[in-house]
Symmetry: C2
Subunit: 242 residues, 2 copies
DNA sequence: TTGACTTATATGTCTAGACATATAATCGTA
DNA sequence: TACGATTATATGTCTAGACATATAAGTCAA
């Protein structure tokens, strides 16, 4: 929720110091580049030890709100430098969060030796086995998204025997495999025959596409393509550092 | 007596402790729900003071990798619980980062009293003035995105006199107005006549749409709609907590 | 069995110091 | 004037304590 309780709820001291400074930065009173008071000045102002103001300033630095330079001081950073942070929820969580009934349907599942196309899609060179899954997510019985996924069995051997007829592969993976990095590509296409049928929309209607690749320390885990009807997929972004 | 076995390590001790724990979590050695050692145990293991391990654990908690509960201990959190964090770059930064020449062209700029549609779009009730801007961004002279923006002058009075013929309004705002919250809606449409012409694509071709609303402490600043050719807008997501 | 009370304990915050380290500023020299 | 060495200083890390506070767990009475 919104930070910066207007008055002092009397949280702990270092939180108050942090909030005070954060407020001045966010209101623009201390613009980017401005040097905020030295630690010893804040120590004097708040009448506390240096470790306390240091903790407040360290957290602000960790949140990228300020930059600290030895001998020079601490400076307000340019706000998030032209970037926002978006949160993409898991489909099931997303639908249930909207208060709608989540539905899942496995359309196809194949275990096969990786074809050249599979290897290309997963970004791996060595031959190996993969699981290819096609499924559909729905909200209140209305198609919400279709999913086309490839899982690298050399990274996730368990996936060979997992039962994806009930549990969506995305949820299964999230609970069984920790990931460290992911990349998304968002694009738009117009629905072809197959897609139109799966999503119950007209051929030629716009579709939102999210391609996601997930790795765990340089090891590809899965590649997934999600197709949504184009009329809107909502993502919420929040200012960093809550 | 500060004689940890290897005192001359490169990173500082608390960073090493943090990295050690992080590694065990990311490799899955300590799965979600696992209780990590108590502070006093880590103090014994690393031969340091409690404040040092506390700093390591606090940072891990701040990065949402662990959850700390009084009297109970610290526990590995479910990884990002079905969510990813996406970074949306500013268009100019995005294009220059790709090593392509950024181009900007102001198409239209109007200062007017807010119409009912404007107020609706900005989510404000009171009458007031707004600036409406239409412009185009290009990469290597090829249309990259068209932008249709509304700025609330009661929040950003300076925008009335700003020169948007050279500087894109998005960049101007980022440098002049700190924002605290933003919301994005991503969707797909098919190009109509006007859009097709502006982006130099065919009518009926898919387009990616990003609607962004920005506030500063509950005050609307701007609403912007960006239209990209559908063939791909790339966003990179990284696991939180670097 | 249940609910209220007590206790033990892990984390949360804070202190008053310490030494390390990077670097802005100054000074001295070529 | 330009450049290299020195110094001053703000941050970075760490210690060995302290008390506060939430709460899991145990205790006891209804």
């Amino acid at each position: 929720m919104s930070l910066t309780a207007d008055a002092a709820d009397q949280p702990t001291l270092y939180k108050r110091i942090r909030a005070d400074i954060e407020k001045r930065i966010l209101t623009g009173e201390w613009p980017p580049g401005h040097r905020i008071p030295f630690e010893h000045e804040l120590v004097a102002r708040y009448g506390c030890s240096r470790m306390t103001v240091n903790k407040a300033l360290s957290e602000l630095a960790q949140a990228d709100l300020i930059e600290r330079r030895r001998r020079a001081g601490s400076f307000v950073r340019r706000p998030q430098h032209q970037s926002a942070v978006l949160k993409i929820a898991d489909i099931r969580a997303e639908i249930t969060a909207l208060g709608r009934a989540y539905g899942y349907e496995l359309i196809g599942r194949k275990l096969r030796a990786a074809t050249a196309a599979d290897r290309d899609r997963l970004g791996v060179k060595k031959a190996g086995k993969v699981v290819a899954i096609t499924c559909r997510h729905s909200a209140d019985k209305v198609p919400f998204a279709v999913e086309d996924r490839l899982i690298d069995l050399s990274s996730v051997p368990n996936a060979a025997t997992a039962d994806f007829s009930r549990e969506p592969p995305g949820s299964w993976l999230l609970h069984h495999v920790p990931w460290t990095e992911a990349e998304h590509t968002i694009s738009a296409i117009v629905a072809d025959d197959r897609t139109a049928e799966a999503l119950d929309i007209a051929v030629g209607a716009p579709c939102l596409v999210i391609d996601r690749y997930t790795w765990r320390s340089a090891r590809t885990i899965t590649a997934v393509r999600l197709l949504y009807p184009g009329d809107s997929h909502r993502l919420v972004a929040r200012f960093k550092g809550g």
